[in-house]
Symmetry: C2
Amino acid sequence: MVDILHRIGIEGSTAEQVYEAITTIDGLSGWWTERTTGATGLRDVIAFRFKDDGFDMNVAELEPGRRVLWEVVGGPEEWIGTRIHWDLRQEGDYTVVLFEHEGWREPVEFMHHCSTKWGSFLMSLKQLLETGKGAPFPHDVHIDNWG
Amino acid sequence: MVDILHRIGIEGSTAEQVYEAITTIDGLSGWWTERTTGATGLRDVIAFRFKDDGFDMNVAELEPGRRVLWEVVGGPEEWIGTRIHWDLRQEGDYTVVLFEHEGWREPVEFMHHCSTKWGSFLMSLKQLLETGKGAPFPHDVHIDNWG
């Protein structure tokens, strides 16, 4: 098993504000993909869509202002059954986000791509909260010839 | 053992041009840190410096236009003995860079930070080649309260 790890710090936002940006359709649409639908309560499924593909996440844990866990129930074969952990905590004027996308079976080339792309979308989350404007799909930053 | 993985695609550059940006002091100074010194031949040591810290890399493999391997011989305790792999290949109008920083002993919080920061510096490498201007230290993009 191999994991994708990231850490960002969001300046001037509370952990509650960051939590809202990852647990509401409005928030998620502002930094990951404008094509976000579904429901965001415990055991609900959130549907994230891009050009021709997407991911469905089962909301497996919700601890307001502290922690979110998604289980991937739809999407590319490599993603199914993997889990995405969000851990939040305040550190001075920052909310620190520890991110982990774990349970990948093999470190395939697609995993390399997803790691860099997650980093880029996390920077979009940071920008959304710090400046009011993120870069969700279809306005996302291209990192390679896959998107 | 846990690894940091990334993938970027650089549009309009040959693999030889990307290779040059990761195997010359001038190239490395243009996207990672302006404080890059040392020598870049096989078994030479390149010294990368930031504000108060840095990394020393032994150049362990060099395959022009295809592959570079660095072994970390100086820097933070967590980095010592880890290895950084660069694999390059042409794909249409892109040079695809597969990056791996492997050999971390534990997935510590510092590793989360380094993963995101590597992604950000790889985007700086992409920008350097695509636009002529990267964002090396001290002009680097801040990702969190650690830098």
